[in-house]
């Protein structure tokens, strides 16, 4: 016999879908099938059942091979590495629950670490812009029920957030949006003809790296001022048309992604996008939302915002929180040799950081906490596998619109495996012993 668990939360992307159904064996030890999830989300659940899964910590040997060690030995190595370092980097934190993030922050404070999360190579630039000029935002529920102008700028949810469009942004019928997608005008700004762009009423195929200029042009167009004939490869008539389309809606929402946050200008692009949203509110209701990637990167910003006042790149080395992206961000620290140990949890910098940074991780004492074997585990000295959050252990996660959702445990972790929170709690206790506090 099997049983079906309903209303399961998907721990993959920032959309944090909450309507999955998972079939598990009667004893709750095996996960058999996943319904309602996108291909990526389903794979995340099913991957926990992989037969070749690593279930015990491993330490790299002189000859490059792995040797299995106990969790106790892994705790000892991690605590000593962090306590000995003058300025350790504790990076990741986006694929775990808020409870683990809070314990991690306590360790960071005890050892004087730099705490950074995946926003550093993702939406950190959005957070800089938000701090500079604020953000008029909303929840995804409001988008579903009200939005009739949907603008995707530099993002491709068809592939990165597969159920975003059907659950919230384009297709659903909501309270004031009874006609579903036929009542919505969809605008996509992307240099490439993406699958999301193929669904758009208007696709602005912008010249790559000219987003800031196009945002500025929209603001000029809202005010009815004169524009140059062509901005960012888009003729001015088209820009006036898009400005009019946005102004004429009852509720406009702008979603944006890596295409603007990590192309030239970075935070300035988002700064300008927020200014566009603010301007639109003089004519109609408008909101803007970052398409956050990892399912709980938003939560890590929330936890640190609450604990330290800053959402990422927090330097605790001097005993008080400092924050200055460009200096205290992971890649700048690694590139400039500013840190002397690296701790990674819930992220894969080995796959996402520039090669020069990954090489620095390889050269330094390093620990990675991750259920999977990843490019990061390949360059670290110690790999600690843990239970999958949202599959084998519950905990709080924040959706991309800053709504907290409690994830659920659906299946047992393999015998004897620790969770992120359990491992971090042990490390914290050992760090306190070593520091005599």
């Amino acid at each position: 016999m099997t049983k079906t668990v309903t209303d399961v939360i998907c721990p993959f992307c920032g959309t944090l879908c909450d309507d999955l159904e998972v079939v598990v064996s009667d004893d709750g030890k095996q996960l058999l099938e996943v319904y309602n999830a996108c291909a990526i989300g389903a794979e995340k659940f099913l991957h926990s059942q992989a037969k070749d899964r690593i279930t015990r910590p491993r330490m790299r040997q002189e000859d490059g091979t792995w040797k299995e060690i106990t969790y106790d030995e892994a705790v000892e190595y991690t605590a000593n590495m962090l306590a000995d370092a003058k300025k350790p980097l504790m990076y990741g934190w986006s694929s775990t629950n808020c409870e683990a993030q809070a314990v991690g922050a306590e360790i960071g404070e005890a050892v004087g670490a730099v705490m950074d999360n995946t926003a550093t190579v993702c939406h950190g630039t959005s957070l800089i812009a938000v701090q500079d000029i604020g953000i008029p935002s909303c929840t995804l529920g409001e988008v579903k029920n009200r939005a009739d102008r949907v603008l995707f700028w530099g993002c491709n949810p068809a592939h990165a957030h597969p159920r975003h469009m059907s659950r919230y942004s384009i297709f659903p019928r909501g309270f004031f949006t009874g006609k579903g997608h036929t009542g919505r005008k969809v605008i996509v700004v992307d240099p490439r003809p993406t699958d999301t762009a193929s669904l758009a009423d208007i696709h602005l195929q912008i010249e790559q790296g000219h987003d800031y200029e196009l945002f500025d042009a929209l603001r000029v167009a809202f005010k009815g001022e004169k524009l140059p004939d062509v901005v960012a490869g888009i003729p001015k008539e088209k820009i006036y048309e898009v400005a009019e389309t946005l102004k004429s809606g009852r509720f406009a929402i702008i979603f944006f992604g890596m295409g603007v946050t990590q192309s030239i200008g970075k935070n300035h692009n988002i700064d300008a996008a927020i200014a566009v949203t603010r301007d639109l509110n003089e004519y109609t209701k408008a909101a803007i939302m970052p398409m956050r990637g990892h399912y709980n990167v938003t939560g890590s910003g929330q936890v640190w915002g609450w604990q330290f006042g800053f959402p990422f790149a927090v330097d605790l080395s001097r005993g008080f929180a400092r924050y200055n992206p460009g200096e205290t961000t992971s890649n700048d620290l690694l590139r400039r040799d500013e840190v002397d140990a690296v701790f990674v949890l819930g992220s894969d910098p080995g796959a996402h950081f520039p090669f020069n940074s990954v090489k620095k991780i390889y050269d330094l004492p390093s620990v990675v906490i991750d259920p999977h074997e990843t490019p990061t585990s390949e360059v670290c000295k110690v790999h600690v596998p843990v239970a999958f959050v949202g599959v084998e252990i519950g905990g709080c996660a924040y959706r991309m619109d800053n709504v907290p959702i409690e994830t659920r445990k659906v299946v047992d972790a393999p015998e004897g495996m620790m969770t992120d929170e359990e491992f971090l709690t042990r490390v914290l206790a050992r760090v306190k012993e070593l520091k005599g506090v």
Binding site: D216, R219, V220, N324
Partner: protein, 268 residues
């Protein structure tokens, strides 16, 4: 004026945070007291004397104190941070935050500086004889009050994000600059004697930018007004005047909207 000479003798394994290298911290101290001032590497505190040879005594006040720093300072941060008077001469490249939040006095760097030099500067003078990194004379993160006064001169080139949120003072760059100049500025004056790339004056409210060389892409929010004769930094010339950023908010004076001004020299 009394002179204290610092010579770096040990390079830090990581980076040295030396916010105590200021005339304000040195004033009234003898060499043997100055070596005890704190510096930091990561979470560990050291003495200035652990990393520098110190000779000479400081003057009674910051204004009577000159500090000369020798040796490779490319891993030393915060030189001259928050100084109010006196003088610092660094005979090397220096790392981040040279003269950050500076209020008075003068800093000369005979080399390059990394990012965030003159962050949130209020007064005084910084002369950089080499190149400057990004965020020269910009606001600190999240602060809407950037450089408010004083003068920064750069003999070489400057990086991106020059004078972000600037609302007073002057920055003169003899060479070229990277993207984003005077973003969100509400005042002040930036003179670029070389070439500029893109995004000059984005979201700019008030203030002036002068460019002697080329501009790769003009912001769509800047509109050409007229050609004018200008005398800037001792150089006379004919400039094309642009006003903007038309998309941004602007105040009015006597019914006239006040825009930020961008002058570009017309080739003779």
């Amino acid at each position: 004026m009394e002179t204290v000479t610092l010579t770096i003798k040990n390079q830090p394994g990581l980076f040295l945070e030396a916010d105590s290298i200021t005339p304000d911290a040195f004033a009234g101290k003898k060499a043997e007291e100055i070596v005890d001032l704190p510096v930091y590497v990561g979470r560990e505190q050291f003495r200035l004397g652990d990393y520098f040879e110190v000779s000479g005594n400081a003057g009674a006040t910051p204004a009577e104190t000159k500090i000369v720093v020798n040796g490779d300072l490319s891993r030393v941060k915060y030189i001259g941070m928050k100084m109010t008077a006196g003088e610092i001469v660094a005979n090397s490249n220096a790392d981040m935050y040279v003269g950050a939040w500076m209020q008075g006095g003068k800093i000369t760097v005979n080399g390059n500086v990394d990012a965030f030099a003159g962050t949130g500067m209020k007064g005084g003078e910084i002369a950089i004889k080499g190149n400057a990194g990004n965020y020269l004379g910009a606001a600190y993160r999240g602060d809407w009050r950037g450089m408010a006064g004083g003068k920064i001169t750069v003999t070489g080139n400057a990086g991106s994000d020059l004078g972000t949120f600037m609302n007073g003072g002057e920055i003169v760059v003899d060479g070229d600059v990277d993207v984003h100049v005077a973003t969100h500025a509400e005042g002040g004056r930036i003179i670029i004697k070389g070439n500029a790339k893109r995004r000059l004056g984005g979201q700019m409210v008030e203030g002036e930018i002068y460019v002697f060389g080329s501009i790769d892409v003009m912001m769509p929010g800047f509109a050409y007004r007229e050609d004018v004769d200008v005398d800037v930094d001792g150089i006379k010339g004919r400039f094309a005047l642009y006003e903007g950023d038309l998309g941004e908010r602007h105040r009015k004076r006597k019914g006239q909207t006040i825009y930020a001004k961008l002058y570009q020299r017309i080739e003779a």
